[in-house]
Symmetry: C2
Subunit: 397 residues, 2 copies
């Protein structure tokens, strides 16, 4: 409780706005380690270059122009978005080549083309049914914009999309053209790869994703469709693909930050995880081995992705203020604004002494989910206590 905090408190702004060091941040706060972010970005950029494909990063994890600028320090590059709010936001910052990787409804296609009309962006849409294709004629007439469209593929029974051998693939392609829209390619996402945990299985999932996507593109081309873009990706397969012959672009999002789920899959080390929530100890129950912190699911998210992995990390792994792991300490329970720290069941280790007021950092199960609970990142570098910058996030649809 030094002068620094007092000064912040004396203003009508939250302390975070002017905090210069981690000590002065209010808790809970979301931290982003710039060194780790840069390393993770560099790693996948090098892989994409080596594999000979364009990297089209997914902005659904970071949702921040400042993070996008780390990926593209010069001109804005091709990106993927998960909401039309992201599309409008990145368009306002000069991004033109975007893919909206969620299946369209007639209303969302209309909103998307309106964004293109207003900003000059080329926002590519996704669909897998003739009904969606047919709706594009009206969208085109209403907005005066010719929609660019991907056909969504299903390579692993994960979610939406057509199998490459599905006869509806050609039917949908023909109806896209008939509606006056532009068929730009095929797009797959190996979402089931999150459930894997050996290099062999991940290499195989990546090859399966590649083979299915290229097969669909070849079918379309045989029937006279140009299919210039062959797009695939998930963070696990992107890091394990051994070749991407026939593929033109790679998509991934969580790779910028990584998280405990990706660690459990085998894609990253714990020390690669770039975001964490800063929290303060607000109580202890020594008789139960509990330490209470002021970060619950509102700050950490309800995501429990590691629950189905070999090592269940609870609501997150606990580190000290400098970001070094406290051996076997996890957030084992969370209510809205409270977390309960315990030693992992079966660990022989004692609970470290964490008196009221101690600050800790919590690593996420799922970076997309943790980050979405916060309005901004406080940017730090390694174990320095200094806050370099505040980077805002967007939300909504």
């Amino acid at each position: 409780m030094g002068t620094e905090k007092m000064t912040n408190l004396a203003t009508s702004q939250p302390a975070t706005v002017s905090a210069k060091t981690i000590d002065a941040l209010i808790t809970p706060s979301l931290l982003l380690d710039r060194n780790r972010l840069e390393r993770n970005i560099q790693r996948l950029a090098e892989r994409a270059a080596k594999l000979g494909v364009v990297l089209r990063p997914h902005m659904k994890t970071a949702k921040s122009i400042d993070v996008a600028r780390q990926v593209f320090p010069g001109e804005p590059g091709p990106i993927t978005v998960s909401t039309l709010a992201e599309a409008a936001y990145f368009a306002s910052h000069g991004y033109r080549d975007m893919t909206y990787a969620v299946g369209l409804s007639p209303a969302s296609a209309l909103r998307a083309m309106e964004i293109c009309h207003r900003t000059g962006a080329d926002l590519k849409l996704l669909l897998d049914t003739v009904e969606q294709a047919d709706a594009l004629a009206e969208v085109r007439a209403a907005t005066g914009v010719t929609p660019s469209v991907f056909i969504e593929l299903d390579c692993d029974d994960h979610r939406g999309g057509l199998k490459p051998e599905d006869p509806r693939l050609l039917e949908v392609a023909d109806r896209i053209v008939a509606a006056g829209a532009r068929l730009v390619g095929v797009l797959a996402h190996a979402g089931e790869s999150y459930g894997l945990n050996t290099p062999e299985a991940l290499v195989q999932a990546a090859e399966n994703e590649r083979a299915a996507t290229v097969r669909a593109a070849e079918t379309l081309r045989r029937h006279g469709h140009a299919c210039p873009i062959v797009s695939l990706g998930s963070t696990p397969t992107a890091h394990f693909a051994e070749n991407l012959d026939g593929v033109t672009e790679l998509r991934a999002g969580v790779y910028m930050f990584f998280d405990l789920v990706q660690h459990g899959v085998g894609v990253c080390a714990v020390d690669d995880i770039a975001i964490s929530v800063l929290a303060t100890v607000i109580g202890t129950k020594p008789e139960k081995g509990w330490v209470l912190i002021d970060a619950g699911w509102m700050a950490l998210s309800r995501d429990r992705g590691t629950a189905s992995q070999a090592v269940d990390q609870g609501y997150g792994v606990v580190c000290d203020l400098q970001g070094h792991m406290l051996a076997d300490v996890i957030v084992s329970q969370a209510s809205q604004e409270h977390g309960i720290l315990t030693v992992r069941p079966g660990s022989g280790k004692p609970m470290p002494d964490l008196p009221v007021g101690t600050r800790v950092r919590i690593l996420p199960n799922h970076a997309c989910a943790m980050a979405s609970q916060h309005e901004f990142y406080s940017v730090v570098s390694g174990d320095s206590p200094e806050i370099d910058a505040r980077w805002d996030r967007i939300r909504g649809w």
Copy 2:
């Protein structure tokens, strides 16, 4: 895709800002049914009056001045908050009598008293250790505000707090006084009541919460502490308490909206649930019995509170556009922006025909978690398609 939507799309504002009907809302959007909200508010207000206690509603669920105005149509009344951001927000709207129901750290106590200094609010703090009590002397000296303090009680091994018979109770009380702070009472929360599901068990949990809290208050009074406020509450026990003798106030939050977890506990009917997420069908996989919607965990939250109840409701129960349940249809899977609807396992019912573009409403597992994923409520009344109002929410800490 009528003229209404086109008009919205032609502006630079999101369609939601000006949407007059549900048809014109972008999806996903958060809906709040005013009729159900009013009924739920009325129900607990009547119970509190009958039980002879003050109702101090918890604003952590609604986080909205407009919802607070439904609870207090005249002058602002006593409220509970879960963050200092809520405290500052409600103080700016004239609320003066507030309890911050999360254990204090030295830094949060300082921020809290600064809010009091700036706004004239009486923001009561919570603690359960002598270390926290001792820190109040410095907080008082630094801000010139005398902190009002509750001692947190543990009535059911749920989270923090002291047992009523713990000898530290008196020690903590003495140290609060020694620090120059004001001991205003004791506070308990029967958080374990969420795990119950019979009226008998809920009546018993409510009586246990009452007895423990009154016992602690009596101990303090025997030792010369005034202990004017005896505060308890959770939504389940608030609705099942048969008498609150010795108690002065009742706290509850989720009761305003209710949710599927509260339905599973037995506190409300499904038709009492006042919030839902409006979503649009974006695909179908008839061979799997799947319908895909544009609401995933980003809109619904990751909360799976019903997973441990007798009936697992997946990521939520599906209703038609007017809010009437589709028999046995639930959101069985969710990724960031996609939900997968299926018929509940074991149901003999067929999946209803829900073509692309169809709009549905999803009821929450946990109202606090679903609402926290959104920036505002679109207020509707029953099955009318009209949107009465847009009520903003706050977030952050």
